[in-house]
């Protein structure tokens, strides 16, 4: 695809080459995200951060990514947006708000709302999550993390073996990750979930159609013994009819250091879209894994900044200008490498 001026609404927009383009630009962002140097490539540009639904970390991650490129951020959080209550169409809202900024990231509780908004917007729109539908930057940061972790082990994404564990029915991130993985070669996906929370059939069929191997299981320990990545997920309790129903599944699949040591290959990477549920009855990823160097969950969120910087740079067409305004940072940054 041609990124310049485009909206980023769905991972369905991308082919393998597009994903690789995004990742190459994300790699170029590392010195800035790590504060080795700063760039002012988007000095003077404004991000409209329109979060009609709360999501602190996604909002701050996008905002920080834009700041790291030198731009400013104007923001809305929650439904302060009373114009909609007065009967304004999303078309009008988009026409107006897109006059105030150079690019918009939007989150909204309703499926399809960001697409509708983007049709009337005069600037590129990035989907920051529209209901249960799409959250493309999350899917990209997950795959980018997989790429980086494997690269550290001398591998690439092709021939990946990954176990996805937990609530595979309601977990938006695993759905998107499956779609992205389908673009690569010889992927083996092990799906570990309770019978009632299995991955949707159409996604399983899609993976198989693309030539990938899919194994389904409801047993954790055997499923994680021959994989490169264990991708654990939280029970999406807010999606169940009752707390009681969610509690049936919560805590069903728990990974801790003992189980990891007993079952996983050395260097098996542990991922999770976060937040992880650290309450006693849940703990899908135990805190005793925190010192395990293969725990990549905070590298995932760090990578989110790189991926979002890359998306901004691509849609605003400055990916080749990043280094022209670069200079060294002068303040304390040593703690970041911890």
């Amino acid at each position: 695809m041609n990124f310049s001026g485009s909206h980023i609404l769905s991972i369905d927009q991308f082919d393998r080459g597009d994903v690789e383009t995004i990742f190459n630009v994300a790699d170029k962002m590392a010195p800035f995200a790590k504060r080795d140097s700063i760039t002012k490539v988007l000095d003077g540009a404004i991000l409209g951060s329109m979060f009609f639904e709360a999501s602190t970390r996604t909002r701050i991650s996008f905002g920080s990514a834009f700041n790291l490129l030198g731009g400013s951020v104007r923001e809305t959080t929650g439904f302060e947006h009373s114009a909609i209550a007065k009967g304004e169409s999303l078309y009008d809202t988009a026409r107006v708000l897109s006059g105030y900024s150079d690019v918009i990231v939007m989150r909204h509780p309703e499926n399809g709302s960001v697409l509708e908004f983007s049709k009337a917007s005069r600037v590129p729109v990035l989907n920051g999550g529209d209901g249960t539908n799409e959250h493309p930057s999350q899917a990209l940061l997950d795959l980018y993390t997989i790429k980086n972790e494997l690269a550290f082990r001398g591998r690439n994404i092709d021939r990946l073996r990954i176990a996805m564990v937990g609530d595979l029915k309601f977990g938006r991130t695993v759905h998107s990750l499956c779609k992205l993985l389908a673009l690569f070669k010889d992927i083996r996906v092990v799906l570990v979930s309770p019978e009632e929370l299995k991955m949707p059939r159409e996604l399983v069929e899609y993976l198989k159609e693309q030539g990938q191997e899919v194994i389904e299981s409801d047993a954790l320990e055997e499923s994680i013994s021959n994989v490169d990545i264990v991708y654990s997920t939280r029970i999406q309790e807010e999606r169940f009819k009752s707390q009681e129903e969610a509690d049936i599944y919560r805590g069903r699949f728990r990974l801790n250091q003992t189980i990891y040591t007993a079952n996983c290959e050395p260097n098996t990477v542990i991922m999770h879209p976060l937040p992880r549920d650290s309450r006693e009855h849940a703990r899908e990823l135990d805190d005793d894994l925190n010192d395990n160097p293969n725990l990549a969950i905070f590298r995932q969120t760090d990578n989110g900044v790189l991926v979002r910087m890359a998306l901004f740079a691509l849609v605003l067409d400055v990916e080749h200008e990043i280094n022209s305004s670069a200079r060294d940072t002068i303040w304390y940054t040593a703690g970041r490498s911890l």
Copy 2:
């Protein structure tokens, strides 16, 4: 008036020369608002954006205007401001908050509150709307749009013929616009409303005293046939005693493409303060006008940024320095011209 260091609280502060000064500075802002170039004239300055009442677009418009001049924005939205609940006077609030910024824009639900705040502030205060009282930047952007639309047709504001349609009793914007128009020559104002929602008598009298022609009517089609501008307004339903009472008037005067074609002169400009009510039973301006090139409603909100940039530049006395730090933009901006 001398703008440097002044508060902007009410359109009553302005004479015709002041309005023309603001518009001349707004014209100079166009290259920056259109992203042809960027300026950093207010680099290092801080806007205190104090919105004690929600108004997303006014808040974002002011904030973006300040960013476009190179400044930073610190913001409050809603009555998070618990100090007032603890018995703090507006005097104290103003003394404190004005120590944090170089200029303040304030919105507040109570009439007169911004004036009271400004008396204790040590930095210029811009009224972003105080209850039903004043919202001067909205009035200025409306008139600035009229100026621009007429200029495009080889005209100026003098001898303007304008129809104001809808809720003329409660609509703050039409009241302010009448006051500003009174500063010009040979204006004909056609006021179209239900009998119960007529323009306040004192404003009608004021217009006449200033030598303007005023025609009142409750018939839409004949009233819009010989005017340069149709300024449509929403029924301010939140101001009625009941939803039922508001519903009596909602949908009474609807302008759509068919009525426009049948009645209006070619190139009659269509304006609206927004939000327009696009729900079935309202639709004072139909969506089928969206492709009409004379629909100026989104040019109005775009012009809001120019006017607010001009106000900041004037009260902070940098209107002659704007271009000294200007340079070309380097990112994608092509979609903005749509």
Copy 3:
């Protein structure tokens, strides 16, 4: 202490030399806070302003301080932060959020939460108030104001005579101020409160152990007659069991111009942590003092910006680089000196 990369969590971290270091750096910030010049020393750096509890002025003061150093601010206000509701630990929250910024200021309703957060943070954390526990930048700005007011009178902090008046039981600021004053020499502290709202015993003992003189009283007028500073406080009514109980004490000790003139030495400084309660039945500091040049309450909040700039400069280790990027301001700033 070594400030570079450190968390600022409690005034217990500081010895006298540390306090003097902070104040020396704060002094260097004055030209920037007064807008004589601007600095961009933190251009490219990001402050994560994490206010899990509302506090407009503390939040804006920290944010403005960071902007004045050239940095950008990303912000959370209130408990939008739904991840915690989904069972996320403060450890995870800290690991994630600290990846987005270069320094964090955090406010949280629970005692000890900022300390816990800081342990997992990869960037320096400044405590912006954790419940009833600590609010170190407020204590520092109070003492910095005392230093400045005394310096103006040719004095230093040693041999200070100060009266603290009002709710000394629940007032967090007076507790912290006592701890800081204990670091200096020959301090006389006169504590004026109702019997039921006396300063906690352990603080009184601590002051005495450090060689300071402590006098307790429940009579205002005689207590303020031989002091350099009167530090008045609001009845912390939200800390009482009922409004009725708070009302017993509210209005008990009122300072106004008449009482000041009759009892105080000339040039006795009047301080208050703000907000002051200006309602009829409270008025611990009457509005008729507003024109008294010794009323230092707004110099306190102004000084808060200097102290917070100093803390940022110290923990990010740029205190020696401040002037390297300095240049003159060009916009209107005359009103600030009022």
